[in-house]
Symmetry: C3
Subunit: 679 residues, 3 copies
Amino acid sequence: MDKLLFGAAYYREYLPMERLHEDIKLMKEAGINYVRIAESTWSTFEPQEGEFDFSSVLTVLDEMYKNGIAVIIGTPTYALPAWLAKKYPDVMATTSSGKNVYGHRQKMDITHPAFLWYAERIIRALLAATASHPAVIGFQIDNETKYYDTCSAGAQIEFVKYLKKEFNNSTQKMNHAFGLDYWSNRIDAWEDFPPIEGTINASLGCAFKQFQRSLVTRFLGWQAEIVKGYKNDTQFITHNFDFDWRNWSYGIRAEVDHFKTASVLDITGVDIYHPSQFQLTGAEISFTGDLARVTKDQPYFVLETQAQAFKEWTPFPGQLRQQAWSHVASGARLLGYWHWHSIHNSYETYWKGLLSHDLQPNPVYHEACTIGAEFNQHAATVTRFSRRSRVALVISNDCLTAIDWHPYHGHQFSRDALHQYNDLFRDYYDTLYKMNIEVDIIAVDDPRLFRYEMLIFPLLYSVSDERLQEINRYIAQGGHAIFSFKSAFADEHMKVRTCAQPGIISEAIGAHYQLFVDPDRTLLHSESLDLSADEVQISNWMELIIPDENTEVLARYDHRYWQQYAAITHNRYGQGTASYIGCHITPAALEKVYRHLLRNTLYQHDTMPTETFPVIIKRGVDKDENILLYYFNYSSEPQTVTFTEPGGRLLFSGKTLRQSEVITLKDWDVQIILVESTK
Amino acid sequence: MDKLLFGAAYYREYLPMERLHEDIKLMKEAGINYVRIAESTWSTFEPQEGEFDFSSVLTVLDEMYKNGIAVIIGTPTYALPAWLAKKYPDVMATTSSGKNVYGHRQKMDITHPAFLWYAERIIRALLAATASHPAVIGFQIDNETKYYDTCSAGAQIEFVKYLKKEFNNSTQKMNHAFGLDYWSNRIDAWEDFPPIEGTINASLGCAFKQFQRSLVTRFLGWQAEIVKGYKNDTQFITHNFDFDWRNWSYGIRAEVDHFKTASVLDITGVDIYHPSQFQLTGAEISFTGDLARVTKDQPYFVLETQAQAFKEWTPFPGQLRQQAWSHVASGARLLGYWHWHSIHNSYETYWKGLLSHDLQPNPVYHEACTIGAEFNQHAATVTRFSRRSRVALVISNDCLTAIDWHPYHGHQFSRDALHQYNDLFRDYYDTLYKMNIEVDIIAVDDPRLFRYEMLIFPLLYSVSDERLQEINRYIAQGGHAIFSFKSAFADEHMKVRTCAQPGIISEAIGAHYQLFVDPDRTLLHSESLDLSADEVQISNWMELIIPDENTEVLARYDHRYWQQYAAITHNRYGQGTASYIGCHITPAALEKVYRHLLRNTLYQHDTMPTETFPVIIKRGVDKDENILLYYFNYSSEPQTVTFTEPGGRLLFSGKTLRQSEVITLKDWDVQIILVESTK
Amino acid sequence: MDKLLFGAAYYREYLPMERLHEDIKLMKEAGINYVRIAESTWSTFEPQEGEFDFSSVLTVLDEMYKNGIAVIIGTPTYALPAWLAKKYPDVMATTSSGKNVYGHRQKMDITHPAFLWYAERIIRALLAATASHPAVIGFQIDNETKYYDTCSAGAQIEFVKYLKKEFNNSTQKMNHAFGLDYWSNRIDAWEDFPPIEGTINASLGCAFKQFQRSLVTRFLGWQAEIVKGYKNDTQFITHNFDFDWRNWSYGIRAEVDHFKTASVLDITGVDIYHPSQFQLTGAEISFTGDLARVTKDQPYFVLETQAQAFKEWTPFPGQLRQQAWSHVASGARLLGYWHWHSIHNSYETYWKGLLSHDLQPNPVYHEACTIGAEFNQHAATVTRFSRRSRVALVISNDCLTAIDWHPYHGHQFSRDALHQYNDLFRDYYDTLYKMNIEVDIIAVDDPRLFRYEMLIFPLLYSVSDERLQEINRYIAQGGHAIFSFKSAFADEHMKVRTCAQPGIISEAIGAHYQLFVDPDRTLLHSESLDLSADEVQISNWMELIIPDENTEVLARYDHRYWQQYAAITHNRYGQGTASYIGCHITPAALEKVYRHLLRNTLYQHDTMPTETFPVIIKRGVDKDENILLYYFNYSSEPQTVTFTEPGGRLLFSGKTLRQSEVITLKDWDVQIILVESTK
């Protein structure tokens, strides 16, 4: 793909008046070359059961085509019509909080045959009407699909069958794997299976989440199969994945295995929302991209990101452009705003689009015009390049769910503890991001795991013996691994290991522990890390680590009673190294640990990046080993960077750069430099 | 009415022993001349279905009459007997949180015919027994009536019919007005109407609130009609309205349109509770009075206010008397304590009355005796006077509900956002109160709106095109208007306007905006307002205002990127002026803005009040243009005031005052001065 | 009992592998001489209805017996099998929050006959299989039994019958006692009785709690009767009571009357959990012991306490041993850890036992070995001694529940207000604890109440006239009493008294009040107490006390308006004294008040303890008047104590002590000194 798709979600159905021609005119001026339509408006297309009307869509297709704007068609199944919920109330999911009421989107039971029957019919009718239209370049199936906490009777019956298969029909094996003797929770006949929403058994609870995630993969796979019956070879199937939502895209999703689910798609799409104004850092753009890109080892689509959005997010001058290039630098080849115009009624009235409610050009729209022009000018160049990461950050939905049950601070299922996994994931990711260490994000069960020189495991809590043994082997054969506290504690059924902790990797890290305590009044003491008074602070969790004789202790605890125990260790194991961080340290201390370990492993001979946040550098390489460098300034103050390559060319100005030349980046600026291979 | 009614709610039924004679003796010593009875004790009057016993009431009537104490009879319909809920469980309302359980008051469905049938019977039986008794001066229908969030099946059916009428039977018109294409929420057959409690459509949600408020008006109108069949011409019908409750009377009610509902009454009654001790400011007494008085352009009743109440409210010496005269100064002609005696069981045991649980005189009771004597002595004088306001603060239930859906800070429906409208309403009101600018409070759809010289509109968010055009005309013809941010944004269906904001009033204010942002790190910069370092702070909301050429900019933003936009503007439009405050400013800054605008409009030639809180001045005028001045000191420290009228007489001491004489107000004092007209 | 039982809960059923022999070997090395088994694993014993399998238990009994370890058998009724809940869903309780779902323990309806039928069968089957085994020394019936907020239909029917009996079948008497005329809540036919979970009547609500507590006593009495059919004379029946849970054992239980319920047992058992590490104070160990010991005036069992437990509780070196001797010093004769090994699955994976998940010896286990050896060596000596308290702290479940309805700060039923009673109880208890004043804790309705020289009543809110008159008589006859604010306010039905407050005890305390207010900006002023600037602070509650002429005022209020009222008073009444603390004072001020009052009463001639926390002293006396002294240092720093007895012997070292010798206590140390009687 040598093009950059640039566009927006477009809802002609929502607009209070006809203005398709005005919209297209403004889109063309902005360099918009695609729109996404149709994924939210089932009830407009089928206002009464079996009565179809795709006129709003067909007119858009014709007019867009005339004006050279491509269209992505979304299947409109994430929001039900009222008539369907009224006729078959069972299509509304029953969750752990009770039966859903119609109104909000994404409240249906995606396993219910009545829903599936009507969903299939609207998909087929929409595609029959639109798929062969020359404007249509691809299809988005459903939108931000999750399992919506379905605990419906059907899902529970299916879950029991899933467990029967998992345990070869033996309740005895399940009782043992899950420890169900505890509190008299044994199940000795499948008929006795209790309601899953009441369980207090973490193993059973996590198995249900795993099952629920498989429903998402199955549902999207089912849609993909339907779409394949209509699409031609040049048209793609994508989906708009979202991320753990903490008022913005915060971390990985409890509800979706992005890696497994991406396998049913041609191309991965994501939506990415992030803090802006003085809070813009680029970290969310980067981590979501580092995950999306890896799902299929290819460029990805940003099907939704913010234009004006909320009052806290309306971009400062320059930010919208900087964000656009940040996505591209991470490997995005499509950038879509949610959404073209602001909405005049209902729920998301204050989630503003490129146009305000007055539907006229405005400063944010004008900046989009600049982006469109730059994309058009430089697409052929930048799309030649791709990322090569030496380091991977390893994630796991199972571990995320497990930490929900057994958090490292706060109380189980408290607001404080929800998806706490992502807090440490973000600490571990963001610190690398700010050090300009480029990484891939990959799932622990991915077959491609061991292709990296270094693997970093935050909270690798719950994982099988086999996988841990493979990780040990990877290290023995020259790999480098960094583990956080609580890693390797439990097996894949969340049964805690009965050997010394941290389980099987104790061998590689050359250390073990029996006790873990609260860090109240404990500091770190390190002779090698040069930690400041702020950096010796630890919180929430500490393991009392006993190192083996030859294991290097990077930090010990400074405490009245625990001073004899290690906090952070580093060990040579075979040809590789294994490091263990046995407590919750600050991001600043983590940077010191990373720096120390990287200098002693990957960067023993190479040069480690010296620029740090707010200057962010991204690097692409093409098949001829030419390099494309992106320099970003994520701050309101100008920054300078010294150019260290032999020579290059600034893409926007065309200016030639010599080695050691100092480049000035304005506030919220981006510069792209092409470095020709000298080979 | 040349009398001041002074009394209390009296619950003989609640008392643990017979002591009617002792109570009446103590009442008479306190100057109490009326009691309100009967509104809470349906189950005492009808202990079993159809078995009536009004003996407790009849004895009270006889004894009160003998002792010259008048009685207000309350219809006892706000608290159901247990037997009724047991027999017909459907009388308990179903709300958005589910089905109510019997126990608490005000949990019934006021639209349910079983409730209405029994309610009518107890009203008729009570009135048949009591209405013609010579002690009875009037009737209170129900008590603090609201719609109790009823979402019962019957109410929902009726709501659909209400919308059918509103939209002339066209779902298409409704879909367009409410924007129901969004998230597939269209309704293309009335039979498909979904459960209203699930809606995420703000327009539909607000329409339902409007409908629910109409149920209150209808219910009280229905009761008034019943009562009219029993009362004679000298007897009045009143109701006890309450206010948005934030542990005290905080703002206007989401659930009741006080103006529309007051139309079914002869006289408006309210209950008023407020902070006390060091927190007593008089602001709540003032705003509730400025609203109640205007509902029917006549004096009103304070049917409930606090005596001892809670530990935080037990008045300091002097405060009870000060509060009493504050009510009278605002136009109250009846002052009733809730309640005579403290209650020995149940829920409100710690909401204490005039008497403590020992039922003996105490310091608070003794202060009531002083009030009773003063009321008796000065009633004929003070009741001759009434308020004349030049300024009105304009309110709207629709806007309050709209801001609940789209708050200016915090998240929709979060605790933080609930009735946030009232926070700004109180900022805008209380600042005027503390400046001693006397105002009326009036609803935006009231026909009397344009009789004022100045209108102030906090958060006039959702209002029809027609009304805005009338406001423009009012300004053009010489009126003065001040609007807050977010005004005029949406039409009466909460559809955001598609023109430049702030919609139709842009013309009058001479400015518009397209973007609004978060004020993080933004200050005000003003050359005309002389703002201190505290006063340049803004919070929550700011609109990036672009003034027209001739529009005066009172303040701009001080910000790295938004400094070119205006924050507060002032514009001559025709014969009048329109001012716009485009961000959330501090009360202290608001006072500076008010002062600036008032000096340039109403007080260009008149003298603006110079005394400020804690000295509060209220003014009444009689038909002969004599003036009555109330001076209050809302503080623990003595205050002095310079008397500026040509001459007057202190009502309590009889002392004559000369111009420029300095009056000393003790802590928590009140002085009343009669200024005879010199005309 | 001349032995100290030392052991743990042991769940062979939970272990992931067979290791009974390894466990027993480690137990013996630790000096463990008993285990508690079987109370949690009904579904293991009866995996399908009527199919019993006690093999896991029987093997444990055999092996323990062979190795000289005794066994306590628990009846396994607090956690239901899944098959039972599936077959008879009604066994799951309906609470005020709705119907329970199966999963968590203690969610059943302990009044439901289907539950009772199956519970009886499993108890009988288990006991038939095990009771006569020579290893079995006793039985624990159920575990931490409460009423689980049951509001099931059956319980409500029974409650109505309970009230019928209480009020001699007269709804009229009930209406009067409970004040049900209020808000039309009268009940004039028993058939009309409304659902109790909806009531807003505090009297009715408290009566229901009282009834619910009686269900616990009845349920355990029923189990005890069953067990008696199987046990022999040397075997005991105990129960494991727990305490108000605020992440640890915080106060008395709303749900259980420990005194009444203990009457069905042979020996009282309790579980005791408490903060540890730097937060360890011993206060929870002490208060729970001072209550448990008094229930039956005999030693008690600590059936559960923490070993490692949570990361915040893993003991510092020395703490586990100190805790063990603290329990013994309070009168415990059995000390059991919860639990032997950590659990590898489910809910309490992070509630660690003596062994970590690796099931190997560790530092905490090693300290347990020391304890086992010391217990074995000194049991015969220390068990000869028992406590003699001159002072009792008086508690009441009814008052606790009453204060839930009418808290002294915060809002009714808010999180803040929940069991607020215990906050003051702990202030009043902990201050005595830190002064080394040894006390008993006793219920206000206990016949043994008046055997003490001094009674201290925190929040004696709701109590009958008769009991108050007896308290007056106790004082008149030479007793000393200290009452907190809000005491004696209401009768046993929570009807507030109609006399001057504090009700009937006004006579003894020589003071009364009519008003109570918020202490905002109020300080104490005292001429006799020597209060510091911190100690004059008061909060939450203050009563405006009017002392009689001869009553000593220990402190007045310092306030602009309330300075004429007393805050703390002291009065001679007959042969005794009565003191009243009319506001919420700080613990530091409370210590000054206690010291003043104790010096003027009990310690007029005796020596008051001079050592204070962190040095804690406990004292036992045997039948020959020999004394056993325990000295504890609850801190990380060494402490010194001067020995004041004529002579003694250090139990651990055997060293002889002379009077005035200085003893050094290491951090977290305990020393036990035997002082032979010189009589």
